[in-house]
């Protein structure tokens, strides 16, 4: 069940509330309508049959982006990451981060069309690690490594103001609601599972799932597959109320960043000085990253039960990993059909003795015909790929079991917290909480004008 953040109470009575809800629905509907037309951009219209000798222009393929521009992209990435870290840790400026987000959205999103992006680069790295014949361009490696390196030192500054996906979701967040903690924690394991699946398919050379199902790239390119467009618009619609749903519950690169940020040297702090425990910031985070102060040790009676639970979960962890690996190994067989060679071999075996089709063959038919020239080679190749998938499936399943087990363990540990502070891994470093801290306001001598008491009407 979702409930409203206390800091976001509505003014103006029920009528305005109704109007705003309606407008939210309207905006979602409008975005969905947009999806229809963007999807229609895929349509191709055959040219007319000219009889006048008119020469149709030749279709040309755009040239690849110049190498120096690619290096410029990497430099822009490094510069924006640096700027983001500076804005978070030195300037503590929410406005600066918003401006940087808009720049990143325009540059990495609309100008660069969302590619290369750090999220997708994970797959290139996975493929390169498992396929010696695949070389990763240096720029792709930079896009993969730079945000992680920054996260190791300064948390998720990439999410704060550099990632165009995050910027887009951050900008459409109109009326955030707070998700129940159990739902938030439950869904938080999904990015790790998606990461595992994406790496499995990329490492086996089958598919780049993160790219094929990227929800926001169609918006950057004003064109895309319907499933991507609709999922993107749905996430943006949801993102008006649930802060950054894709970043929190789907983004596989966010999972990596979260792991790095958890051990980061620097961490985002709400207050620049000693916390006064005023609790003004406790509902400031729309992403559920704010943690309350907590004592290190619970009551003695509860402690014994907690210890038993911890021991049980520790014992269960190998079983979860083993069970996941077994399931993943079984999953590897059907998953291998995503690989074109395995898919062709399966079709070849099923239709090997079928009579030739009448009419002109499709591309798939032709692939099958070619396969008939060297069937053993095809079947052997497919069997080898499927074997790799089974091995990869074991790893993926084991990883999934480990993620679930570790999450359960982390939810069974007590951590001492003296102040209200953002969770190291979950915090996007967006800087919203800065504005809630009276210490920040007093240090920067900023009047609290943006926050008004509407009860004075």
């Amino acid at each position: 069940m979702a409930h409203e953040s206390p800091g976001d109470g509505m003014a103006g009575g029920g009528l305005w509330a109704l109007a705003r809800r309606s407008m939210g629905i309207v905006a979602v509907a409008a975005l969905l309508a947009l999806s229809v037309f963007t999807a229609a951009g895929e349509q191709r219209f055959p040219p007319p049959d000219f009889e006048s000798g008119h020469q149709l222009p030749v279709t040309s393929t755009p040239a690849a982006r110049a190498v120096w521009l690619q290096y410029a992209d990497a430099m822009v990435l490094a510069a924006t990451l640096g700027a983001s870290a500076w804005l978070v840790y030195r300037k503590r400026s929410r406005k600066g981060l918003v401006a940087l987000s808009i720049f990143s959205l325009v540059y990495f999103g609309f100008y660069r069309k969302g590619c290369v992006c750090a999220i997708g680069s994970t797959q290139n790295i996975a493929l390169a690690l498992c396929d010696s014949g695949y070389a990763v361009p240096a720029v792709v490696t930079a896009f993969f490594l730079l945000p992680l390196i920054f996260a190791l030192f300064g948390g998720r500054v990439f999410c704060a103001g550099v990632c165009p996906h995050g910027a887009l979701q951050d900008l459409v967040l109109i009326k955030p609601i707070k998700l129940p903690a159990w739902l938030e924690q439950g869904l938080s394991v999904l990015p790790y599972l998606y990461l595992g699946a994406g790496v499995l398919f990329a490492a086996t050379g089958s598919a780049f799932l993160f790219c094929q199902y990227d929800p926001f790239v169609p918006l950057f390119r004003m064109s895309g597959r319907s499933v991507m467009v609709v999922s993107g618009v749905a996430l943006l619609g949801l993102g008006m109320f649930v802060g950054r749903p894709d970043c929190r519950f789907l983004c596989p690169y966010g999972a990596l960043l979260k792991l790095c940020a958890a051990v980061a040297k620097l961490r985002v702090r709400v207050t620049p000085a000693a916390c006064t425990q005023c609790r003004l910031c406790e509902a400031s985070c729309p992403f559920g990253a704010m943690r309350e102060p907590a004592a290190a040790n619970p009551e003695p009676r509860a402690l014994a039960a907690d210890r038993r639970r911890l021991a049980l979960l520790l014992a269960l962890l190998p079983a979860l990993v083993a069970g996941g690996a077994w399931l993943g190994g079984r999953f590897g067989v059907p998953a291998s059909r995503m690989h074109p060679t395995v898919s062709l071999a399966e079709r070849f075996v099923r239709e090997g003795s079928a009579p030739p089709k009448s009419g002109l063959p499709t591309d798939e038919d032709l692939a099958l015909e070619r396969a008939r020239e060297a069937p053993k080679e095809l079947l052997t190749q497919a069997a080898a790929i499927r074997h790799r998938f089974v091995i990869g499936g074991w790893v993926f399943g084991g990883w999934s079991g480990l993620v679930i087990g570790m999450k359960l363990l982390s939810l069974s540990l007590h951590r001492r917290r003296n102040d209200y502070e953002p969770d190291r891994g979950d915090c996007f470093a967006c800087g919203r909480c800065f504005e809630y801290c009276p210490n920040t306001l007093s240090q920067s001598a900023i009047p609290a004008s943006p926050i008004r008491d509407s009860s004075r009407v």
Binding site: M23, V36, V189, L320, S353, P361
Partner: protein, 584 residues
């Protein structure tokens, strides 16, 4: 009283803006949805009215009024369609703008009306413990759901692919996936000794035999070995393998392959071709005008099987005894004059050039089929429209090349895998003369325009680099050129015979026979053989000076090109199949 106005006052313009933007976005969205649906209805390809008119056109192809109406309607529909697309494109940007304004204004409203945080009294107990417990259950549930999902997926479609290498061998041995059979095609020497396709072993209309007849007399029967009445309609030329002559014939009711004994002219067998129905909508069948008929394409053989294709798309392979081995329908063909491209073979593969429609239709293809099974080995799309010139296979630049003609390209493909090797942009009009390869040059005629010689060792577009010469005098529009490597000969439809130097294209001589010719000339030894539609047969010397050797009237009409065997020449007339030669 405070200097700061109430929040509701400050936020009112933003609220109003948000409302206007929302209403604008909704109305625009609805208008775009309506326009989008309308666009689909106006898609010219979906218009029932236009389809109906187009369907009527083949029934009355000369109806200029109907053509004009089709063009007009097509133009109107396309105009509306593209205007709507433009509106949609503009609408998308407006919609993005509207939504952006709505979000901006709503955000401002929220900021202006935001209440200061008001922490509530903290509850006693340990809410964090309760939250952690609930979260553990949620994580557990997600884990169980993920595991169940993986398990369910693993129970899905049973894999057909065997798990172990040994099982793969068993599967192949079981025949579910038949192992490849070695090629059984005839050797190049065998092919050279026969007449396995349109215009002979290399498709050039040249025979290496020297014991061929120089004169005969149809009236007295001198030099006529046998004459067998034609019983099946068709314009295709005969082919010869061993002691057998093959040709095809047919009409809408039946298509067949006929085999005669080369020595006696006796019918050995005739086999009706049974092919599956055309793929797709039967109502949109192949275009087959009477002037071309069902059997204009000449058969081909690889020495083990004979192949025949008909204008309705029926394609069949038969063994030399007439047993049908496989068949399929490659149609329907969109070809206003009907499909007439002859077949070719390379090793045990059958080559099909299926040029049809307009270049933008994407229907033209070049295919190689396994002659034993009919399965497609490779296929290449050709961005050309309909053509009627038959492909030839040559050995040049270390490769077996398939030479094809269709406006505007002379294009060569690797016979092994269909990869395009080179192309020359030089053809125009309705390309009917087939190419020939002689003296290291490919000769190709752009109908009634120019004859070109191309060196076939380039890569990519070699229009500017590989055309050795071109000639523009007396270029044929239907018949194909012939060359012995030293000289090249053409005969135009009205009977103007021209001799060129094959090395540089210089005209050596011309002679006007004033006879209608559709049959391509042939060269055997030092003679050029010509046959007219009205039955004239002419032999001239293949020399730099014109010299007629022989002329006779056959009393038959000839559209087909001659086929040669040891001491014999087989002719297909409109009423008889002729065999000319010295009795042995």
């Amino acid at each position: 009283m405070s200097d700061i106005p109430p929040a509701s006052t400050l936020s009112r313009p933003w609220r109003l803006t948000a409302g206007v933007a929302a209403v604008f976005s909704v109305l625009l969205g609805l208008a775009m949805v309506a326009g989008h649906l309308g666009t689909r209805a106006e898609d010219p390809l979906q218009s029932p009215q236009l389809r109906e008119m187009k369907a009527k056109l083949p029934l009355s192809p000369a109806d200029e009024l109907l053509k004009g109406e089709i063009r007009q309607l097509d133009l109107q529909l396309r105009g509306r369609y593209f205007r709507q697309l433009e509106r949609t494109s503009s609408g998308v940007y407006l919609l993005i703008g509207g939504v952006a304004i709505f979000i901006l204004a709503s955000t401002r409203v929220r900021r202006l009306e935001r209440q200061p945080p008001m922490p509530q009294p903290q509850v006693d107990g340990s809410p964090e413990a309760a939250r952690a417990a609930a979260a553990r259950w949620a994580v557990g549930a997600i884990g169980v759901a993920a595991g169940a999902g993986l398990f369910a997926l693993s129970l899905g479609l049973r894999p057909a692919l065997p798990e172990r290498a040994a099982d793969i061998d068993k599967l192949l041995e079981a025949g579910a996936a038949p192992a490849p059979v070695p090629s059984d095609a005839a050797s190049p020497d065998e092919l050279a000794r026969n007449w396995p396709r349109f215009r002979g072993p290399e498709g050039g209309g040249v025979s290496s035999l020297t014991n061929l007849p120089a004169r005969w007399d149809a009236k007295t029967g001198a030099g006529i070995l046998w004459k067998t009445p034609m019983s099946s309609p068709g314009f295709n030329s005969p082919i010869i393998w061993g002691n057998r002559v093959f040709f095809s014939g047919g009409d809408a009711s039946q298509r067949e392959v006929i085999c005669l004994d080369l020595k006696t002219g006796q019918l050995l067998w005739r086999q009706a071709v049974a092919a599956p129905s055309p793929a797709g909508n039967a109502a949109q069948g192949s275009e087959i005008p009477d002037s071309t008929g069902y059997a204009a394409s000449t058969m081909a053989t690889d020495g083990r099987r004979v192949y025949a294709i008909f204008a309705n798309g029926d394609l069949a392979a038969l063994d030399l005894e007439g047993k049908q081995l496989w068949s399929k329908n490659m149609g329907p063909f969109k070809n206003s004059y009907g499909h007439a491209i002859s077949l070719a073979t390379w090793r045990d593969r059958l080559l099909l050039q299926l040029d049809q429609g307009e270049s933008d239709d994407g229907k033209s293809k070049l295919c190689a089929l396994d002659g034993r099974t009919g399965q497609v080995v490779w296929q290449r799309a050709r961005k050309v429209g309909a053509s009627w010139a038959s492909p030839i296979v040559i050995e040049a630049a270390g490769k077996a090349q398939v030479i094809t003609l269709a406006a505007p390209w002379v294009a060569a493909y690797a016979a092994a895998d269909g990869a395009e090797l080179w192309r020359v942009e030089c053809l125009g009009g309705e390309v009917t003369p087939s190419p020939v390869f002689a003296g290291g040059l490919v000769l190709a005629a752009s109908p009634s325009e120019k004859l070109l010689a191309i060196r076939p060792d380039g890569q990519g577009d070699v229009t500017k680099s590989k055309v050795v010469w071109s000639a523009e005098d007396n270029v044929p529009d239907i018949t194909s050129p012939v060359s012995n490597g030293e000289l090249a000969f053409t005969i135009s439809s009205p009977g103007l015979l021209t001799c060129y130097d094959a090395k540089d294209g210089k005209k050596q001589w011309e002679h006007d026979y004033e006879m209608d010719c559709h049959a391509s000339p042939a060269v055997a030894g030092n003679r050029v053989y010509l046959f007219s539609q009205k039955g004239a047969a002419v032999v001239v010397e293949a020399a730099r000076e014109f010299k007629e050797v022989f002329r006779t009237e056959m009393g038959d009409g000839f559209h087909a090109s001659p086929a040669f065997a040891q001491g014999r020449m087989v002719l297909r007339g409109m009423t008889n199949i002729w065999c000319v030669g010295e009795a042995q």
